[in-house]
Every structure is written in C-alpha cells, then in structure tokens.
Symmetry: C2
Subunit: 230 residues, 2 copies
C-alpha cells in the first residue's frame, strides 16, 4: 500500500540524485510540481516536507525550497530536533557529554598514533590561537572549539567533522550557561597544551589520559552550573 506522497518523494529524490536538480537550485513551484506529478498540492507539500526532513532540500518559511547535496552535516542537522528532545533532561545531557568524551579520547589516541606532520602543525596553530585568546572569553570559546575540531579532522573521515558539529551545536546551550571565566580558560589552555605535547610525543596513552582529564574537568564545570541552576 503506497501513498501518493511516496511516489512524489521518490520522483524528486531521483531528480536530485541524478543531478537534474542541482545543488543550490530552487525546487520548481508547488503548482508546477502538481502538474508534473499529477497530484494535488497536499501531496506535493507533504513530499517536500519529507525531503526537508531527509536533508535533501532546505526549507525556509515563505521561500522556495532549495536543493542541497546530501552530506553528513545535513544528516546531523536533521537529527537536531530529535536530539534536543533528549537534552531536556539532565541524564540526556550527561549521556551525550560522556559520548563526546568517549569519542575524543579515542581521537586523541588516534592522533598520537597517526597524525601527519600537517595535522600537528594545525594543532599547534590552534593551540597558539588558544593562547592568544585566553583573556577574551567569547573568543576563547571559538578557538577552543577549533582546537578540538582539528582532532576530528585527523582521521580524514567526513563523518567525524559532522559529528563534531553535532556535539558542539547540541551542547552549546549548556556550555554558554556555564560561568566562563579567564581562570577556567587557563585551565583549559593548560589541558590543551598537555594533549598537544602527548600527541607530539607520539604517546597514545598519555594523549588519551590528558584528553580524559580535560573533558572530565569540563564536565565537572558544566555539572556545577546545573547544580546552581537547580
């Protein structure tokens, strides 16, 4: 039992993945599509909504939907609303943060074992940006994020940068609520330095341990904020 909507979805999906509808191009108007597929606007509209939820088109209210090349970022973006549901509860936040810790410990190990020369250069550059921004809390957040980003790029697997985006976007609300101070920035800077040193020394165990200390401490800060906020 197929719904008419499914037919339209399949048709549009085909036209997108065949490249007939190119990335960045606007979708035909709803009325044009109803002529093309011989369906009413209801089903066209429903199909477009479905494509939007699959990350194939980007919909803004009152604007023509825009075709997007499916990518890992799109997947994470689509996942956003569902994840936010889970972040309503403290346990949800903790689960997600601990997942992040798990991933980044492994990333630190991976970096120590396999980082190339250019990776290490990128890491050092990010570290210097940290140092330069240590007095400027908002800017430090940006460079902090960039430092971790480098680690997600080292495996050269496009899934990881997308996961990085996901973690940071989902957890940001809980992060900015935190009391960010220059003192904490210094702690984090020192932690980054330790991680960098361990990676430079090609010592996976030390890198993992340093990352673990860093993120467990960060989690402690976040949890404190929770406790205060009640």
């Amino acid at each position: 039992m197929r719904r008419a909507t499914d037919h339209v979805i399949a048709g549009l999906e085909a036209r997108i993945s065949s490249g007939e509808l190119a990335h960045g191009e606007r979708l035909p108007s709803e009325r044009a599509l109803m002529a093309e597929f011989g369906a009413s606007r209801s089903v066209i509209r429903e199909a477009i909504a479905a494509l939007s939820n699959r990350g194939l088109v980007l919909c803004r209210p009152r604007h023509r939907p825009v075709v997007r090349r499916p990518g890992y970022e799109a997947v994470l973006e689509v996942t956003g609303p569902a994840v936010r549901q889970l972040l309503g509860t403290p346990e949800g936040v903790e689960s997600l943060f601990r997942t992040r810790i798990f991933v980044e410990r492994a990333l630190a190990r991976e970096a120590a074992a396999n980082a190339r020369r250019e990776d290490i250069a990128a890491l050092r550059q990010a570290l210097e940006a940290n140092r330069a921004a240590v007095e400027d809390t908002p800017q430090f957040y940006v460079t902090d994020r960039a430092f971790h980003r480098v680690l997600y790029e080292i495996p050269r697997n496009p899934v990881f940068p997308a996961v990085h985006e996901g973690f940071f976007n989902w957890l940001r609300p809980h992060w900015v609520k935190m009391n960010q101070t220059v003192a904490i920035n210094r702690v984090n800077l020192a932690a980054h330095e330790a991680i960098y040193e361990a990676i430079l020394a090609r010592d996976p165990d030390a890198a993992e341990a340093a990352m673990n200390r860093h993120l467990e401490a960060a989690w402690g800060f976040v949890r404190e904020t929770f406790a205060e906020a009640g």
Copy 2:
C-alpha cells in the same frame, strides 16, 4: 515569523512531554485536533508529519499515529532516511564502516579496561552462541550481531546501544549482499575469541588490535563483494 503549523507542533509536543498523551497512546483524530487548535486539517497534518520526523510519534499509513517516548532509538530511526542517502555511494559506505571500526576499537579497549564481571559473563555467553551457530549462516549473523551488542552495552551509556542499532541497520543491506559462508563464519568466530581473550586478560592494546583485525577483515569481505557487483 511563525507559521500556524509551528503552534500546533508546540502544543502537541507539550502534551506529549507533559505525559498528557502517554507513550503508546494513539493521537486524537485529525478532525478532533483541528477543533482543538482551531486550525485546518492541512496544518494539523503538517504538524503530525513534523512530529513523526522528530520521532515523537510513530506513523503508519492509514493508521492512527502513536505517541512514542522520545528515546535514542527514535533519534537513530529518524536519522535513517538521511543516512541511506549517503549509503548510495561506495565512499559513503566506507566512511560509515570506518566509523564503526573506530567506535568498536575504542569499545574493545574500554571493555578490557572496565568490563564488570557480568559484562564478561555476557560476552562469554554471546561467544558460545557464536560457536553453536557457526554452521548455520543466518543464525550466525544474529549471534554475531549480539556479540558486538554486548560491547556497546558495557559503557552503560544509552547512546551506545542506539548507535549499535544504527550501524547494523544501515549497514545490513551491504552485509547481506555479501557471500556469507561457513568458512567466513569460522574466521569471525576466531576473531571474536581473540577479542574475548584479550578483554578477559584485561589487555586494552590487545583487545583493540584484535577488534581492528576483525573489522578490517570484515571490511575486506564487504569490499570484495562490491568489486564483484561492480
């Protein structure tokens, strides 16, 4: 700029998370909802579709939507269609498989370091099921999956079992296409034994290495199948 649909979505979300609409209960009929929210069926329908995409309700064609408690499985399920888009390309499959390898290497290490007595018992039980099913290929697939599942449960973080579901469901089509033979089953069984031994010996490095060999070999089998299929 708010759309009427957003209002209905918010209203239903509230009624769900407040428990007024309990898990497993059926949503009111579309006609009832349009009376309640003073909106036309179009917006009600669009709102329900949106909730479905957020994993808050489960929709089957021609059936009344059913309320679901938001959970990590729901998130992964919602992500499914988008991920499947990416799996259309061989690079997509490889990225996802390598992500799995990355995660399970870390899980093996984690297990060796922190598995409790009951975890190890579960692992041994799963391993024995592997042994018993080694001649029965379809059954071996089931027990194979169960063995890996145990590893995802060891960190006691609800995100991981959901990720396990995701990996297996997404990759299953590429797995079943593979030439599964008793010979391959034996290879995998031996690999599982090696992983188990390393975890039992509390040797993270050996556990990670064993897992790595296991999954790289598996990836080799999958890739061969690709090459044959063209």
